[in-house]
């Protein structure tokens, strides 16, 4: 009996000092298995995302949408799905897409959306007529302020160096007020907040945004007066994709990045929460055993 108890105790102790690689395996599985299975999680679209979707859905044909890619590779996993979903939706609505970046790192990511989504899925979209990549310009919020007054002074060429006046779809763009919608992807600085403060508010142009889950709480207060809607983290992306599939059933069988990332994210959080609970249960078992054996709580 006593022997048995000692063995039990040592098992608890062993589990408490569990090799961390076991935890690593669990976390890796929590992420990889949903990705491999291709599991998706339908996120019921919340009002803040639905409002965004409805706004795009109601844009007339040939509306001018400015998309600013204001993020870098480290937040791309969360934000790229949003950019992809919104580009898809705008292209379905036959909007004209103007892509730019106030982050230097945004330029390459703009390219990814064009190469992975726009070109293969919408082969009819012609560069210079239906979409244009203006590239990155330095200047942070100062740039936004200037664009509000004079767009072409800052962008005299597109990203490839083509003169802006030779691009047909740039003809009537004089300042930010000529756009029907501005979407900023990225919650850092400069980002959605700066677009709201220096373009949306003074120019009275509708602004929508997509940002990481971490920065979303700071931006919620701008909805609905200053932001038409906001996508926060993988969840926001998944909600938008859900709305997109509901309205355009042809996407039902398409792999939606946000919806599949959402599964991995939720499961991996569960794993971490599980381990915290597990660790504490073990700890209390261990301590009550020690108390029963008359040993004072060893660790402090």
């Amino acid at each position: 009996m006593a022997n048995n108890e000692v063995q039990n105790q040592s098992l608890i102790e062993k589990l408490q000092l569990i090799d961390r690689r076991i935890i690593f395996v669990f976390i890796a599985c929590a992420v990889v298995i949903p990705l491999l299975v291709g599991a998706t999680m339908e996120e019921e679209t919340t009002p803040i995302v639905q409002a965004f979707f409805d706004y795009v859905e109601n844009l007339p044909e040939d509306s001018r949408v400015l998309l600013s890619f204001d993020y870098g590779p480290t937040t791309a996993p969360e934000i790229q799905p949003m950019a992809d979903a919104i580009v898809r939706h705008c292209a379905e609505r036959k909007c004209k897409l103007y892509m730019m970046a106030v982050w230097a790192t945004g330029h390459n990511l703009t390219g990814e959306t064009i190469v992975n989504v726009l070109n293969p899925e919408f082969p009819d979209y012609k560069y210079g007529e239906e979409y244009v990549n203006l590239g990155y310009k330095a200047g942070n919020q100062g740039l936004i302020r200037l664009l509000l007054v004079d767009f072409k002074r800052m962008y005299s060429t597109d990203a490839a160096g083509t003169a802006i006046d030779s691009i047909p779809m740039m003809e009537n763009i004089n300042n930010l007020k000529n756009f029907d919608l501005i979407v900023s992807f990225g919650g850092g600085f400069p980002g959605i907040k700066e677009w709201v403060l220096y373009a949306g508010d003074p120019g009275n142009v509708p602004v929508g945004g997509g940002c990481t889950a971490v920065s979303a709480p700071l931006l919620y207060p701008y909805y609905p007066n200053q932001l038409i809607g906001l996508l926060g983290g993988a969840k926001g992306a998944a909600e938008y994709e859900n709305a997109l599939i509901t309205a355009y059933p042809q996407y039902e069988n398409k792999r939606m990045a946000g919806m599949s990332l959402m599964v991995s994210q939720t499961v991996s959080h569960m794993v971490i929460i599980f381990f915290i609970i597990f660790g504490n249960v073990l700890y209390f078992l261990h301590r009550s055993k020690q108390k029963a054996n008359g040993i004072e709580g060893g660790q402090s």
Binding site: V31, V32, L35, T74, P77, V214
Partner: protein, 229 residues
């Protein structure tokens, strides 16, 4: 570079770094070695073009040109001082006069102390005091420029912020022993610090996960899927 080769290289290096989680191994070592060499080179190239060329040379050259061709003294000549300070750093390579490198170091440390003195005083000190000053309860007219206390909970929240900031500062006192009432207050202060640490930890977990998901998504859906299609 061929795009597919790029994917294979990226996958190889990604797995190499991840293999460290199991244990140190040659695959990790080679990824690490590439990373160190490449990134050190990358930084030097960035410093070279952004600092040496566009900050020093592009400012200094026109000034020197003006000085020697027209005999004009222009503000750009001040960059000469920066260049000289930089060269002084290199004097370390000559042991006899290595001590000269302390001059630019002294400048750097002194300037850092001076600049950060003010930065921290304002943004970390004074403004945080400003933000903490609010009414604890009762309506405040709009003139205050502070959000009026709307209900008991809001007021309690404000009071809690006051208590937390106050006791937190008590904890940091160096010249008083944490005993008696003072010790009690310091203890409460540590509780608030613990909440802060717990909250930031919990808050960050989510964003860290999405980074990993991004990487593994690349492996699963770009690389592996790419092999079979």
């Amino acid at each position: 570079m061929n795009f597919d080769i790029g994917i294979w290289i990226a996958a190889f290096l990604t797995l190499g770094i991840m293999s460290f989680l199991y244990k140190d191994n040659p695959w990790y070592k080679i990824s690490e070695a590439i990373f160190i060499g490449l990134s050190a080179g990358y930084w030097f190239v960035s410093l070279f073009w952004q600092n040496l060329v566009s900050k020093l040379w592009d400012n200094l050259w026109p000034a020197l040109d003006a000085l020697f061709t027209r005999g004009e003294f222009t503000g750009g000549l001040l960059y000469l001082i920066a260049g000289i300070l930089g060269l002084m750093m290199l004097m370390r390579l000559v042991p006899q006069i290595g001590w000269i490198s302390r001059w630019p170091l002294a400048l750097v440390v002194g300037a850092t102390a001076g600049l950060q003195f003010i930065n921290y005083l304002v943004s970390n000190g004074v403004i945080q005091v400003y933000n903490t000053i609010t009414p604890l309860f009762g309506p405040v007219s709009e003139a205050g420029g502070i959000a009026p206390v709307t209900d008991v909970w809001h007021g309690l929240g404000n009071a809690l912020i006051l208590v937390g900031t106050f006791t937190g500062l008590v904890y940091f006192f160096f010249s008083k022993e944490h005993k008696g009432f003072f010790g009690g207050a310091a203890r409460v202060g540590t509780w608030f610090l613990m909440i802060t640490f717990g909250a930031s930890f919990g808050y960050t977990v989510m964003s860290r996960m999405s980074l990993l998901i991004g990487r593994l998504d690349f492996l699963v859906n770009t690389w592996i899927t790419g092999i079979f299609t």
